[in-house]
Symmetry: C2
Subunit: 326 residues, 2 copies
C-alpha cells in the first residue's frame, strides 16, 4: 500500500489519509478551529522546497518532517513561545510521489510535535512539479517578549551552542566537502549529520531565561535564532537594536575536535541552519542564566556605536558572506 | 526597478520590500504576534501552484493575489468567520521572476484585504522552480458555528448564487472551450472571466444568517463552500451530516443566458472554483433568510436516508465526475 503513487491514490483518498494525522479534524472540514483565552499568539511560516532545502539524496522524508516543524518552532522559541499550539501544513506534491514518502514525512513531523508540543491543525495539498512543504506554526507567548530589536548597549551576548555543524553535515551528505574525512572524528561527523538532518532547537531555553530573571519588570530581551547563520544573527540583533556587537573569537564554543582554519571559521560564521539562540541580557541576569544553563556561552557584548559586528581576537580574516537563498 | 529579476535583487532586498506590505512587522522579526481575547480562531491554509492553479496566460499576478486571499477567506466564511484577522504568505519564487510580478501579486492580495478585512501578518519566501503561494488565513468565529457535519433532515438547502461560471471562464482563458463563442452573450463571457479571475465570496452572508435567526439557541448550521464543485459541496454536506440531499434541478439559479445541454450542466455541477456557499437551515429560518437575501436560492432539502445526492427534475444524465487536483 505504501508504494502507491499519489496520482493513483487520488486526491480524496490522500486527504482522507492525511486527516488521520489531525486529531481535531476528523470531520473533514477545511478550517481548523481553536479557542483562545486572552493570549498573545505567535505565528510563523517556513517553507521547505525540493532542490532548494532538500532532495531525496540529502534528506530522508522522516527527517524532513522533523526539520520542517523544528525549524519553524525555532522561530517561535526565539520570539518567546511558552507553549506550542500546532501547525497547518501546505503540501505541494508531484503526483509520482509514493504514499510512503508522505507517510514518513508526517511521521517525522509528528515526532517533533510529540517532543515539543502542538498538533497538526489542518492544511491543504496540491499537485506540483517539485515537492514542497509550507508550515505555519502557532504558539502562545508569555509575558516576556523576545525580539530582534530589544538588545541594549552593555548587555552580554550569549549563544545556546555551537555553530558550523549543520553546514558540515550538508557538505558531507552531498559529498561536497574538500576535507580529508579521515582527519575528522567519527563523533564530529555523526553530530554534524544529525544537526543538519534533525535540528533540535533548545526547548527549555525560555524557562531558564524566566527562572534567572531578577524582576518581572524586565519584559523584553533581544533574541533571534541562527537559522541564517551565526554572523547574520548577531548582525540582525545589532542592526535592528541599533548598537554595536563585540564578539570575542576566543570565547566561541566549538564542537569537540572542530578543526581550525579559515574554511572552518567560514562554516562556523556563515554556514547557517544551526538553529541556536543568540540573545543578550543585562550583566546580572546573564550571570544567573549562565549558572543555570551550563550549555550556553557568553561570547561578547553590545556597546553604543554604529550598528555593526566586530570580532576581536580573530586569527583569520572572516569573509563577510551573508547567506542568501536566491 | 520593477523589471529587476529576483536573483539580481537578492533575498535581503526582497524581504525588505515584502516587509513594506506588513503593517505590524516593520522590525523584520520572523514571527508575527497577535493579541487575542477569549475568541474562537479559524485557521485555513490554501495553496496556489503554477501550472496547477495558474500560469502567466490564465492569470495576471494581481488577479492571482486577489484570488489567493479570497479563496482562502471563502473557507473561513463557510465556517462562520465574523472578522478576518489576516494572513501569512509563504512564497516560492523562481529566481528569474521579475519584481513587478511579485508587486502585482501583493497589490491584488492587498485589494482583497482592503475589501474583506485583515492584514498581511508575516510569511516566508524561498527559491523554487515553479512559483507557488501558500496562504494561511486567520479569522474570528462568532457564537454560530458553520460546519459540514451540522446539516439535519428536513432542512432547506440554499445556495448563495450561480455555478459553472468559473469553469467557463477558465476554458475561455485557455481557449479550451468547444463552444461557438458567438452564441454566448458578452455579459456571460465577461462575468465568467471575472468569476474565474476575481472570485468574490459573499462577505455579508453570515450577517444575514444571524439577522434571520429566530433564537440564539440555534448555534450550529451545516455549511460549506463550492470551491471543489457544486455537486461535491452538497455531497460533502450529505456525507458528513449523514443524510440524503434532494436537489430540484428546476430550482437551480443559472446566470442569464446560461445555455442548456449536458456539457453546460457538467460545468454547473462539477466545474469547481465558484466559491458560493451551500448550506441548510430549518424551514422557518430559511424563509426569513431568503426574504433578507434576495440573491440566495432554495434548491432542495435534506431528508433521512443513506448519505447521497438525488437530483430530481433533471433533463440529462449528470456524470458523477468528482473534481480531483491529482
Amino acid at each position: 500500500m505504501d508504494n502507491e503513487r499519489i496520482k493513483d491514490l487520488g486526491e480524496k483518498e490522500l486527504i482522507f489519509r492525511l486527516s488521520k494525522y489531525m486529531p481535531n479534524n476528523q470531520t473533514n472540514d477545511d478550517c481548523a478551529s481553536l479557542s483562545i483565552a486572552n493570549e498573545n499568539l505567535l505565528i510563523n511560516t517556513d517553507l521547505m522546497v525540493e532542490d532548494t532545502h532538500f532532495n531525496n539524496k540529502t534528506m530522508h522524508p522522516k527527517d524532513l518532517g522533523w526539520k520542517s516543524v523544528t525549524t519553524n518552532y525555532s522561530d517561535l522559541i526565539s520570539s518567546g513561545c511558552l507553549k506550542f499550539i500546532g501547525i497547518n501544513i501546505g503540501l505541494i506534491i508531484n503526483p509520482e510521489t509514493k504514499w510512503h514518502w508522505i507517510k514518513e514525512l508526517y511521521k517525522g513531523a509528528c515526532e517533533a510535535l510529540d517532543y515539543y508540543g502542538g498538533i497538526i491543525l489542518g492544511g491543504d495539498c496540491s499537485k506540483g512539479i517539485k515537492n514542497a512543504i509550507s508550515i505555519t506554526a502557532i504558539g502562545l507567548q508569555g509575558k516576556l517578549s523576545l525580539r530582534r530589536y530589544s538588545s541594549k548597549p552593555e548587555e552580554i551576548i550569549i549563544t545556546t551552542g555551537n555553530h558550523g555543524l549543520s553546514k558540515l553535515g550538508y557538505l558531507l551528505k552531498t559529498n561536497k566537502t574538500n576535507e580529508d574525512l579521515s582527519k575528522l572524528s567519527r563523533e564530529l561527523i555523526s553530530q554534524s549529520l544529525n544537526t543538519f538532518q534533525r535540528p533540535k532547537p533548545k526547548r527549555d531555553f525560555l524557562q531558564n531565561i524566566i527562572k534567572s530573571r531578577l524582576s518581572t519588570d524586565q519584559v523584553e530581551i533581544g533574541c533571534t535564532d541562527s537559522s541564517d547563520g551565526f554572523y547574520q544573527a548577531i548582525n540582525d540583533l545589532a542592526t535592528t537594536s541599533n548598537c554595536k556587537a563585540i564578539i570575542d573569537y576566543k570565547k566561541l564554543p566549538k564542537y569537540k575536535n572542530w578543526p581550525s582554519g579559515e574554511v572552518w571559521d567560514e562554516y562556523y560564521f556563515y554556514g547557517g541552519e544551526d538553529y541556536e539562540l543568540i540573545f543578550s541580557l543585562p550583566k546580572d541576569w546573564a550571570k544567573r542564566y549562565l549558572n543555570l544553563d551550563k550549555k550556553s556561552y557568553e561570547i561578547g557584548k553590545f556597546i553604543k556605536g554604529l550598528p555593526s559586528v566586530e570580532i576581536i581576537n580573530c586569527p583569520v580574516n572572516i569573509k563577510r558572506n551573508i547567506y542568501s537563498h536566491f
